[in-house]
Symmetry: C2
Subunit: 555 residues, 2 copies
C-alpha cells in the first residue's frame, strides 16, 4: 500500500470481564491475534464448563490472520486455542514453557499434529505481515511470560500482558526488561495496553522470592508432614517449595493431575531445578517418616474435584490427612471461591491438621502489578494513547484515572468494550465501529448450543423444580382418554406432599374439563390453561413458581 | 432440688457455620434460649430462601422453656423467631431497639398480638426459673446490643453475643461495659462463650466513629449528589451519614424498604438524632440541587432486588444515577457476595458515577472483635471453661488456640458442634451426648419440605436440564399407541438441535420395541430401559447428563 493504512485494535475478550483475553490487531490485509484465553462461567451460567470468546469476526477474516501470539501459559490466555484452532489454522508463537503447556492442551483435543507451534524467546523479533512482533521479558506468576511491542507502519503498540515488576525473580537473570520499556518510550510509543487487575491496590506487589523466605521459616520449625497447595502453573512457587524441602532434607511428592503435568513439562523443558533423588512417587510417601516428606498438590482454590479437597474429605486414594499434618495453602481465593476454600480449611482443621492460609502468613503474592508498578510502566513507555485492559469496568476506570493523574489527556484514554474497533493513525485514535463479540458457552462437547433460553430454563428449574402434567386425548373429539398424570421433581418432597399433589391433579382436571366444555381443541390454549391455573394455585399455596410442563398426547 | 443439678449448654446453631445462632441453657426444669437467628442459604441450596435451626429439641421440652433472650437485632440472631414462636409461645426479652425490629418481623407474620415482648436495658437483671439473666452493655454494628451473664446455681456463664470493643461509640455513654466483665471475672466465671468471627484478624477493630470522620472528609469536598449504601440495621452508620449531611447543609432521603423500616423504628424509639427539616421524601429529591442531597439506601451487598442494584441498572422508579453522582458503598462484601457487589460497582461507574468502596477508603469498620479485643475479654473474664462460638470450624479452632495461648488448659476448652450437650458442674465440664440439630430449609411458605432429595433434583436439573419422554401404551397388550414424544428444557437450544432430538426419539422408540419384543410389561423396567439407553446416547454425544423423565400412560 502506498498510503498508510489505519491500525485497528479490536479486543474480543478481557475487557469488562476477567479472563478470555483475546485482542485483534489489524493493519491492511494482516491480522495478528494476541492471546486466546477462556473464562470460567459466572454463577448464573448453570452447568456451563467454560466460556470462550465469540470469534466469528476472525472466522470471517480468516485469510488475513498471520499468527496467534501468546504472552504466557495461563488458561485465560491460552485456554480457547483448541476451539479457535479448529476453525482457523494459523501458526502459534510463544515461549518454550507457554508452548509446552499449549502442546498438552492440543494433545487432549487431538489437534497437536495439525498446528504449527513456533517457539520464541524474550528479545526475539518476528515479522508477520505488516507487523514486527517483539517479545519483551516480563515477570508474572508463571515462568517465561513476555510483554509485546508491536511495531506497525504507523507506530509502536506496547501490550504488557499480565505482569508484575519483580526485581528479584526466581530465575536469576530473568527480571522484567524495564530498560526496554524505557527505550521504546524514548523511541515513541503510539499506544499502551496494560494489565489493570491490581490497579485498586496501592504500593508494590511483593517479589515471588518473599514467599520462599516464608516457606523456609515454616519448614525450619516443622517436625511433621508438610502439604503445600498452590496453582499448578506457578512453576516458581513449586520450585521454592522444592528448595525449602531440599534445604531441610525432605523428599517431595507431587499430587493432582495438573500439578503432575506442569511439573513434568517444567522439568523436561529446564524450567525447574530438582536435585537428583528429591522427587519421590506419591505411592512411596509411607516409606519415609512424616517429617521427611513434602507433598505438593492442587486444590488451592477448594475445587471439589481437586486432590486437596479429596484429601480433606477422606476421599483421596493415596493421601490421608493425619493429625499434625501441616497444610500450607499458598494462594488467595479467586473472587467467588472464598466459601469453597473455607470449606476445605474447616475440614482439614477437623482432621487435626494445622493449616496456614493467607490471612495467617505471607505465603502468597499476586502476579499482577499494583499502582506503583503501573505508574512505573506508564512513565517508562509514555504512550500517546492508552487502553487499559484485563479487568472489569471498575479496574479499567481506575486505571484510566491513574493514567490521567500521570499526565495523559482524557481524550487520549480509551476505556473500550469487547467488539469495539479502535482505529489509530500516527496521531489520532477513535472508536469507529463494532464487530460481533461476546461469550460462547462450552458445556460438555457442545460449543455455543447453550444460550440464554437454555440458561433461563436451567435457572427456573434450579429455583423451584418442575411439574409435568401429561394427558392423553382423543384425536376425534378432544375428550380426555387418560390422565392427567402429574410428576414433580425438585419441587416438594413428594412422599410427604401426597395431598398437595392430588390437589394439583384435581386442578389440572378442572382446567381440562373447562376446555372440553368450551370445545377448545387448540393444544397451545389447553396447555396455557393448565399452566395458568396450576401456577396460580401453587404460588398461593407455596409461594413457589415451579416450571409447569403440560404434555398432550393424541390418539 | 436439694442436690445441685448440672447445667447443660446445647448450641442449636452458630457453630461450624455463619448464622442461625441459638443456644439452649438448661438447668433442672428450666430452659433459657439465647438468640433465635436464621442463616442465608449456601450456594448448593438452590431456590431456598432461608435456613433456620432444627428446634425439635425445644418443641419436645416446651414446658421447660422460660424465655427467649436476645442479644441484638440482627437477622442471624432474631430471624428464626417467627418460626419458633409459632410452635413455642414464650416471652421474648431484648433491648428496646432489638424488640422494635422483632415487632416489625412478627407483624409481617401475623404473630404480634400473641407474643409477649419484654423490654430490658443494659444493666438489668431478670429472674427466669433457676436463672438470673444479667444484660451487659456491649458494642456491635447495631445499636443497643448486649452481652449476657447467666447466673446459675452452679456458677456464672458469660456469653458475649456479637461484639467489638468500641471505646468511642456513637451513642456517647454507651461504650461496652468492660468493667463489668472484669468484676464478673473477679467473682469467678464458670464458662465463657465468645464471638469468634474476627479471630483471624490481628489487632483491633477500628471504632465506628472513624467512619464518620471519613464521611465528613468526603462530604466536605463533594459538590455532587451523594448516595450512601449500607446495612439498614447499622443505625449508627446511618446516624453518621446524617451528621455529615447536616454539617454540610444537605437534605437526606431514605430509600429501600428495610432502610425505611429501620430508620423509622430507630427515630421512633429515640436511637437517632435527626434535626427537624433534614429528612425529605424520596419523591422530592428533585426539588433540590444535586449538591444539597444525600440518599441513604440499601444494597451494599449487591442484592439484585435492592434499591442500589436497581438504581445501577436503571430499574429504580425514583432515583436515576446521573454522571457525577458520588456513591459510597459503606460495607464489606460478605463472603459469597463479592461478585454481586462488583457487578453493581461496574454498572455505577459505567453510568458515570464516582464510586467509593472499601478498597479505596476507610468507609467501613467491622462489628466484631479482632484478636486484641478477644484477648482483653478473655483476660477480664478469666473463665474456668471456654467455648468459642459464632464461626466456622477454622474460627472456633483459632479462638481455642488464642485461649490456650492466654493460659487456659486445652482440656478446659470445648470446640463444640451444634446439637452437642455440654454438662457443667461447679468444677467440671464434659460433652455427654447429642440432641437433634441441623438445618431446616425455608422455601416460600414451605418450612422443611425441601430436603436433600429435592435439592439433589434441583442441582441435577440446574446442571444439564431435563428430557421428558412420554408414551401411551395399551393396557391390554402393552403395545405403543402414541409417542414416544420428547420434550426438553435447559438441555440444548431445541430449534438448532432438531436432528439430535429426532435421534433421541429414535433411541426411545428402539428401547420401547425391545421391551415389546421381550414382552416386558413392568413399567419400571420399561422406564429404566428408556432412561439407560438415552443417557448413554446423550452422554456420548454431548458429554452431558440431563435428567431423563420417562412417563408412561396406559389406556
Amino acid at each position: 500500500m502506498s498510503k498508510k493504512s489505519k491500525l485497528k485494535i479490536i479486543p474480543l475478550g478481557g475487557l469488562n470481564e476477567i479472563g478470555k483475553n483475546l485482542t485483534v490487531f489489524e493493519y491492511g490485509n494482516d491480522i495478528i491475534i494476541l492471546d486466546c484465553g477462556l473464562a470460567f462461567p459466572e454463577d448464573e451460567m448453570l452447568g456451563v464448563d467454560l466460556v470462550i470468546p465469540d470469534t466469528s469476526y476472525l472466522f470471517k477474516n480468516k485469510e488475513k490472520i498471520r499468527a496467534i501470539v501468546l504472552t504466557h501459559g495461563h488458561e485465560d490466555h491460552i485456554g480457547a486455542l483448541p476451539y479457535v484452532l479448529k476453525d482457523i489454522n494459523v501458526p502459534v508463537y510463544g515461549t518454550k514453557l507457554t508452548l509446552g503447556l499449549v502442546e498438552n492442551k492440543l494433545k487432549e483435543h487431538g489437534l497437536l499434529s495439525s498446528v504449527k507451534l513456533q517457539t520464541i524467546k524474550a528479545g526475539d523479533e518476528v515479522y508477520l505481515g505488516a507487523f514486527k512482533v517483539e517479545f519483551i521479558r516480563s515477570t508474572h506468576s508463571i515462568a517465561d511470560a513476555v510483554a509485546i511491542a508491536l511495531h506497525t507502519p504507523i507506530g509502536i503498540v506496547v501490550h504488557t500482558g499480565d505482569f508484575k515488576v519483580d526485581y528479584t525473580p526466581i530465575e536469576g537473570n530473568n527480571m522484567i526488561d524495564i530498560a526496554r520499556f524505557g527505550q521504546l518510550g524514548k523511541m515513541g510509543v503510539l499506544a499502551l495496553m496494560a494489565d489493570s487487575t491490581n490497579v485498586e491496590r496501592p504500593g508494590y506487589t511483593m517479589s515471588e522470592r518473599t514467599v520462599g523466605e516464608t516457606f523456609e521459616e515454616i519448614f525450619r520449625y516443622c517436625d511433621q508432614r508438610i502439604l503445600v497447595a498452590t496453582f499448578a502453573s506457578n512453576v516458581h512457587r513449586v520450585q521454592q517449595v522444592i528448595n525449602a524441602a531440599v534445604l531441610y532434607g525432605r523428599k517431595v511428592a507431587v499430587c493432582g493431575r495438573s500439578m503432575v503435568n506442569v511439573v513434568n513439562v517444567a522439568i523436561e523443558l529446564g524450567y525447574m531445578n530438582v536435585p537428583e533423588g528429591t522427587l519421590i512417587d506419591i505411592d512411596h510417601i509411607n516409606r519415609y517418616k512424616n517429617n521427611q516428606v513434602v507433598i505438593i498438590t492442587t486444590g488451592s482454590q477448594g475445587e471439589p474435584m481437586s486432590a486437596l479437597y479429596r484429601m480433606a474429605f477422606s476421599d483421596h486414594k493415596k493421601v490421608d490427612i493425619v493429625p499434625g499434618d501441616l497444610v500450607i495453602i499458598s494462594a488467595t481465593p479467586i473472587p467467588g471461591n472464598e466459601k469453597l476454600v473455607s470449606k476445605v480449611i474447616n475440614e482439614l482443621f477437623k482432621k487435626g491438621a494445622d493449616v496456614i492460609y493467607e490471612s495467617l502468613a505471607d505465603i502468597h503474592v499476586s502476579g499482577h502489578a499494583c499502582q506503583e508498578e503501573l505508574k512505573l510502566i506508564h512513565s517508562l513507555v509514555k504512550p500517546k494513547f492508552f487502553i487499559p485492559v484485563h479487568g472489569e469496568y471498575r479496574h479499567l476506570k481506575q486505571h484510566a484515572n491513574l493514567a490521567e493523574r500521570l499526565g495523559l489527556k482524557k481524550k487520549n484514554i480509551f476505556i473500550m468494550d469487547i467488539g469495539q474497533v479502535l482505529e489509530l493513525t500516527e496521531d489520532s485514535a477513535r472508536i469507529t465501529g463494532t464487530v460481533p463479540a461476546g461469550k460462547v458457552l462450552v458445556d460438555g462437547l457442545g460449543v455455543g448450543d447453550v444460550g440464554n433460553i437454555v440458561l433461563r430454563d436451567r435457572q427456573h428449574l434450579a429455583q423451584d423444580g418442575l411439574i409435568v402434567v401429561v394427558v392423553t386425548i382423543s384425536g376425534e373429539n378432544g375428550s380426555v382418554i387418560a390422565g392427567p398424570d402429574v410428576i414433580s421433581r425438585g419441587f416438594v418432597y413428594v412422599r410427604e406432599s401426597e395431598a398437595l399433589m392430588e390437589e394439583v391433579k384435581g386442578i389440572a382436571k378442572t382446567a381440562l374439563s373447562k376446555c372440553e366444555e368450551k370445545k377448545i381443541k387448540d393444544w397451545s390454549t389447553i396447555k396455557s390453561t393448565i399452566k395458568g391455573s396450576l401456577s396460580e394455585f401453587l404460588y398461593e399455596r407455596t409461594k413457589r413458581k415451579p416450571m409447569i410442563l403440560p404434555v398432550i398426547m393424541e390418539i
